[in-house]
């Protein structure tokens, strides 16, 4: 397994005294789907800002493709092209007069030629399915549309790692589904995707790898079924268990012979719900009569 991005005992305290990160070490596998879970204020956003060099670690280090980050202009320029972040609130990241202008902002800053920028913009708009919004002013878009423009604006820079900060917050279920499908597509095309969320159901069904942050420290890491196995830890971090997991555990506890691994999606779980015996004869009676 090759790691694309890693941190080593990262520490960061904001000028106002908030200790946002207190020694976080983690590794992100290239091409993986990673979810970073944690309550509000656990340090998820601060961690992301270290991933593309907006914040500089006060202690510890950030490693990209095996090399420790440097913070000179050229290195940062290079890094920010490779690691793209879609922030939570679209209203603080869309500023241009039209969607095309917005999406071309990043590529232009990379110093690409106009023709190249144009190509990139068209590709990003097509990918996110917003070609028809191209000439619309960003201010008149709906929330869901704005979120897509933000995504397109980052994708147009063709990052190797795509980071999304709370991408599903405030989206309605239909849009969440569209987004998840879209991320799945990117994943299949080889993209490394990292997202933060406190939607445990989303994290459970989507991620390969989960990290739980709690008060600036890494509280757990592993595959979803590993991480959620420790109920106490999950709840201690202000989170809940995914419902699929809970139903599965309960069924196992009741004694149903459910084969491993646990279901990862709603469909899988529903398919594996146990069938009743075909007759309506009280089970205990039947069982005893067969002795």
């Amino acid at each position: 397994m090759s790691y694309i991005l890693a941190t080593e005992s990262l520490e960061y305290t904001y000028p106002n005294g908030t200790q946002a990160l207190r020694g976080v070490s983690l590794k992100i596998v290239k091409g993986s789907k990673t979810a970073i879970l944690g309550p509000n204020g656990a340090g998820k956003s601060t961690l992301f800002l270290h991933f593309n060099g907006i914040l500089k670690p006060q202690r510890g280090k950030v490693i990209y493709e095996g090399k420790e980050l440097r913070y000179d202009r050229a290195s940062l320029l290079n890094l920010r092209q490779k690691v793209g972040i879609v922030f939570q609130d679209p209203d603080t990241q869309l500023f241009a007069a039209s969607v095309v202008q917005e999406v071309s902002f990043g590529p232009f800053n990379l110093g690409l030629s106009s023709t190249e920028v144009k190509k990139r913009v068209e590709k990003a708009l097509a990918l996110t399915g917003i070609e028809d919004l191209a000439d619309k002013p960003t201010h008149f878009l709906s929330y869901g549309q704005k979120k897509r423009v933000c995504l397109a604006a980052v994708l147009a820079m063709e990052p190797e790692v795509l980071i999304l900060d709370e991408p599903t917050a405030y989206l309605d279920p239909k849009l969440v589904k569209q987004l998840v499908d879209f991320l799945e597509e990117l994943h299949r095309a080889g993209q490394t995707v990292i997202l933060s969320t406190h939607d445990v159901d989303l994290a459970y069904t989507w991620a390969d790898q989960i990290f739980i942050l709690k008060a600036g420290e890494l509280a757990a890491k592993g595959r979803p079924e590993e991480v959620f196995a420790d109920q106490e830890l999950v709840e201690g971090a202000g989170l809940a268990l995914p419902w699929i997991w809970e139903v599965y555990q309960k069924l196992k506890e009741l004694g149903w012979p459910l084969e491993f691994p646990p279901p990862r999606s709603k469909e899988e779980l529903l398919k594996r719900l146990p069938c009743p015996p075909e007759t309506r004869v009280p089970l205990r009676v039947v069982a005893s009569s067969s002795l």
């Binding site: 000028p15 106002n16 005294g17 800002l49 593309n52 907006i54 202009r73 320029l77 920010r80 092209q81 793209g84 972040i85 922030f87 609130d89 209203d91 603080t92 990241q93 500023f95 241009a96 902002f105 990043g106 800053n109 990379l110 201010h139 604006a153 980052v154 820079m157």
Partner: protein, 259 residues
Amino acid sequence: MSVLEQYAYSNRLRFVHPGEKILFALATLIFLLGTSQTKVYLLVLVVMSGLLIGMAGIPIAFYLRLLLLPLSFLITSGAGIALTVTLSSSKEFLFSLSLGKLTLGVTQAGLLAAFQICLKALASVSCLYFLALTTPMVEITNVLCRLRVPGLWIDLLTLVYRFSSVLLDTATKMHISQSSRLGYSSLSRSFRSLGYLISNLFLKTYEQARMLNITLSSRGYQGEFRVLEPSFRLSQRNLILIGLWLIGLGALAWLGGGA
């Protein structure tokens, strides 16, 4: 918001009557401006710093860094006072440059004057810091209100105070998101990005005002901001101490002047 403010809320003099703190700081400040005694400057600087560090519990390292803040202004303006420009070169310059007929240089008297002014300014700044580090903005506003400062002014103070931090937060987020898309990677891009940022922030400001009107109206806003004011009790002891302090300063200045 600002680190100064954090101390204003957490220092050990937090629950002393804000009126007393304002009186103490302002009266000392005005006294300082009116006197030309270096001794008084030194005394005020030492006492204010002592109170802040000893009684209010402000960390000494932080306070010293704070005192360095106005350094750039002190240096430029101090240089302006120390510098003498003259047509005659008869002056006793410590060092000088001549530009044709003009001579530009520093004399001992000029340097001394600059030094005195800087010391005075530092002492004054310590008074300002006393107020800023011990008294939260709400309480200062409250005292202003009691001093019959026009109501519109008070309302605007309240709103500016609250929404500065909201808009600053928005501006910071905008800046981060632009930086992560390389918006500040060259001078011309910086101008463009900052221009985008400001104009967008302006639009946000309008939107925020519109929303605020809705949310406050739903709580019955009709143009007035009446809210509960914090209540403090004046301490006679403190008032007497402040009086004694001012008399002491006066005596020192007068004696110094006589000598």
